[in-house]
């Protein structure tokens, strides 16, 4: 036991000290955080530029109300849009007028102009002309403003009160809730994003830690240190120590991420609104039971795949050689990702239930089902039990392969040879 502890300690320190681990651990949440925060920040930054907008109002009825409706303010309190009215004083024809305005846009006298035709109250369309028309946010604002001015005018002409109409026309909102064994929870879509994120983190880390184990075993084999180590302990102790040591690395990383996540969901919203009062942003929070299942399925998935990667490492002489054998293993991890959308949409279908019970798919698919729609408990317990049994069987099988493979150099053994190893004492 003392010897296994020494191996665990070595494996742990060797990985935790590497730059790769530190960068991955710190950068992981920073990247995810950035992914959530940066778009918000940028949308706030773009607000802060005052723009001159030309207005040609041939109807003479719209421009007046427009200034009042287009009242967006910048951080320093100045209006974002400055409207500049152009009268058609010289009775030019419309074509010449537009040509003149176009020129002004090109000379950057103003960033855009709005052309309102004469009979707009009766019908027709307003034109918006600019050098670039890809700022949907800005165009949307202007569209809304023009729209509401014109509609108000129309309503007033018919003798209706725009304010009353607005009240009657108020949209009915659709509130989505999710009913579970635990009761009713309001779901704003955040749970979905979080599930997606958790499943993706699980998938990435299973891959990541598997390849760390693979590399560790190959390093021991190719540097030929393995025989020196085995003159002190059993192959099984070495394998177990390695798998546990890397598991400890995984827990460390997850713990750091969990603390970070907790911090963000606790203080993130207030932090952001502290810096940018204009933004209203709510971080979705993870229900505790989902987080527990996440950790459970990470542990089980890790041990299952760790044994597979350890076996592959013991069979090959180099990482390059390992690639061929890795392909089927990667398939086991990729298939559930491909099936993800299907399972999200019909989590209760027979296919979803069966797939999520298969041990090699279970960590990802069962976690997904837990997130989307909590499955009947026997199914969850069953998949966990199956996973544990499979892990025990894998440890037994892999130990037999590992103890022989790790001392074999040269040609990679064929499958029938590996079967023979089971009979070796």
């Amino acid at each position: 036991m003392q010897k296994i502890l020494s191996v665990i300690k070595r494996e742990y320190l060797q990985i935790v000290r590497t730059k790769g681990f530190i960068i991955g651990t710190v950068l992981g949440p920073v990247l995810i955080g950035a992914f959530l925060v940066i778009p918000v920040v940028f949308s706030l930054i773009s607000v802060d530029q005052q723009e001159q907008i030309g207005v040609v109002d041939l109807s003479g009825e719209v421009a007046g109300g427009l200034e009042e409706k287009l009242d967006q303010k910048m951080k320093d309190g100045k209006p974002r849009f400055v409207l500049k009215l152009y009268e058609n004083s010289k009775d030019e024809n419309i074509k010449d007028l537009k040509e003149e305005m176009n020129q002004k846009v090109l000379n950057e006298e103003f960033s855009a102009y709005i052309f309102i035709p004469e009979g707009i109250i009766k019908g027709g369309s307003v034109e918006y002309v600019s050098q670039h028309v890809s700022d949907f946010d800005k165009i949307g604002n202007i569209h809304d403003a023009v729209n509401s001015v014109i509609i108000e005018k129309r309503l007033k002409k018919e003798g209706l009160d725009p304010q009353k109409i607005a009240q009657h026309m108020k949209e009915v909102s659709l509130k989505t809730s999710k009913v579970t064994q635990r009761g009713v929870e309001e779901d704003t879509g955040g749970t979905f994003i979080i599930s997606y994120l958790l499943v993706f983190i699980l998938y990435m880390t299973l891959f990541f830690y598997g390849s760390i184990i693979l590399r560790g075993v190959i390093e021991e084999k190719s540097s030929r240190v393995v025989e020196i180590v085995l003159s002190s302990l059993r192959p099984f102790q070495l394998m177990l120590g390695k798998i546990m040591g890397i598991a400890a690395v995984g827990f460390t990383q997850y713990a750091i991420w969990a603390l970070f996540g907790l911090g963000v969901s606790q203080y993130g919203s207030s932090l952001i609104s502290g810096f940018f009062p204009a933004a209203s942003f709510n971080f979705p929070s993870i229900p505790a039971y989902i987080f527990i299942y996440f950790v459970v399925f990470f542990i089980l998935g890790y041990f299952l795949y760790a044994t597979v990667y350890a076996a592959i490492g013991s069979l090959v002489n180099s990482e390059k050689e390992a690639q061929q054998l890795l392909l089927p293993v990667s398939m086991f991890l990729v298939v559930p990702i491909l099936l993800m959308m299907y399972v999200i949409r019909s989590p209760e279908s027979t296919l979803s239930v069966v797939l999520s019970m298969i041990p090699f798919f279970a960590p990802i698919l069962m976690l997904l089902r837990v997130c989307v729609l909590f499955p009947p408990f026997p199914q969850v317990a069953g998949s966990i039990l199956l996973l544990i049994l499979t892990i025990l069987a894998m440890v037994w099988v892999v130990a037999k392969i590992y103890r022989v493979g790790i001392l074999m150099y040269g040609k990679r053994p064929r499958f029938p040879e590996i079967i023979k190893w089971f009979r070796y004492q």
Binding site: Q2, K3, S6, V7, R10, Q14, E219, E220, S223, R224, V225, E227, I228, V229, L230, S231, S232, L233, R234, P235, L407, Y409, E417, K420, Y424, Q425
Partner: protein
């Protein structure tokens, strides 16, 4: 009590018989040569002694006890296929591998300093293994093998990659450890090294023991009629002389084994008529000659140029 007893041990991998009914024993406090050509079964035998693989048949006793995991702490093993963790620092590595031998951390520190100092590696203590030369790594590996003061030390080609100065240093340490009562198993292909330091040997070929005993006795058994001849001139006729049983031609000189009935003095006369003789010596056969005789196949026994 013997330091090591191997009794009727066999081991096969599938249909390949790696070790076949092998027995030998090693007295305590001696240096024992375990010899054999490549693929003879030496490494498999050593791995069984180390409990890394388990014999199909037979028994292995180390220091009077049946070999088990616990006994690994009493044995030190320097494998032929050896290496170290390239990314670890020297001291860290030595601490780790000593811990695997059951040593407590506080007693290891002094021993590490002593050995690093002895091999002149003190300033490399905090360097990564991959920064060391092959010779230095070799010395670190030797330290790993003996740091837990094992009663039985197994060295497989310990001098490979060492310069003459370090070879001498290592040989001196081996003799010193023998004096202190440690038993050493020395496995190599370099017969002159075996002749220098081993009292007893065991020669294995094709999974079976072909020779065992004290080096002196084996040489005596091989007869006194061995000549060492250094000559100038055309020497092809020597192979055809009567009573010449076997010749090992080393280029600069040749080792000739004569039939017991043949008198070396007569041979000297015959030779002196045809070639110029620089050196003519009646001696015990070299271990190298015995090795080649026992292990070489039938064709190799015929003299070259015959």
């Amino acid at each position: 009590m013997q330091a090591l007893e191997v009794e009727n041990v066999s081991k096969s991998f599938g249909s390949f018989l790696a070790v076949n009914d092998l027995s030998f024993s090693i007295p305590q406090g001696t240096i024992y040569g375990l010899l054999g050509p490549n693929g003879a079964g030496k490494t498999t035998t050593i791995r069984m002694v180390m409990n890394i693989i388990i014999p199909d048949q037979g028994f292995i006793h180390v220091l009077g006890q049946k070999m088990n995991e616990h006994m690994k702490e009493k044995v030190g093993y320097l494998p032929e296929d050896r290496g170290l963790y390239p990314k670890m620092k020297v001291e860290e590595l030595l601490f780790f591998l000593s811990a695997l031998k059951g040593l407590k951390r506080d007693e290891v520190g002094r021993r590490i300093d002593y050995w690093l100092d002895r091999f002149d590696l003190g300033e490399w203590k905090n360097k990564k293994v991959e920064e060391l030369s092959r010779g230095m790594q070799q010395k670190i590996q030797f330290i790993v093998t003996v740091i837990h003061r094992p009663d039985l030390i197994i060295l497989d080609e310990p001098f490979g990659g060492l310069d003459p100065v370090n070879t001498k240093l290592l040989k001196d340490i081996m003799l010193e450890m023998k004096k202190e009562g440690h038993t050493i198993i020395f496995s190599t292909h370099r017969m002159e090294q075996v002749e220098m330091i081993c009292e007893n040997i065991c020669l294995i070929n094709r999974a079976k023991k072909v020779l065992e005993g004290s080096l002196n006795q084996i040489k005596k058994q091989y007869g006194k009629n061995t000549l060492l001849l250094d000559y100038e001139g055309e020497g092809h006729f020597i192979h055809k002389l009567s009573g010449v049983e076997h010749i090992d031609d080393y280029g600069k000189f040749m080792e000739i084994r004569l039939a017991d009935t043949r008198d070396p003095q007569n041979l000297l006369k015959e030779l002196a008529e045809k070639v110029r003789i620089n050196r003519f010596e009646v001696k015990q056969p070299s271990l190298n000659a015995i090795f080649i005789d026992k292990v070489g196949d039938k064709n190799a026994k015929d003299p070259i140029g015959h």
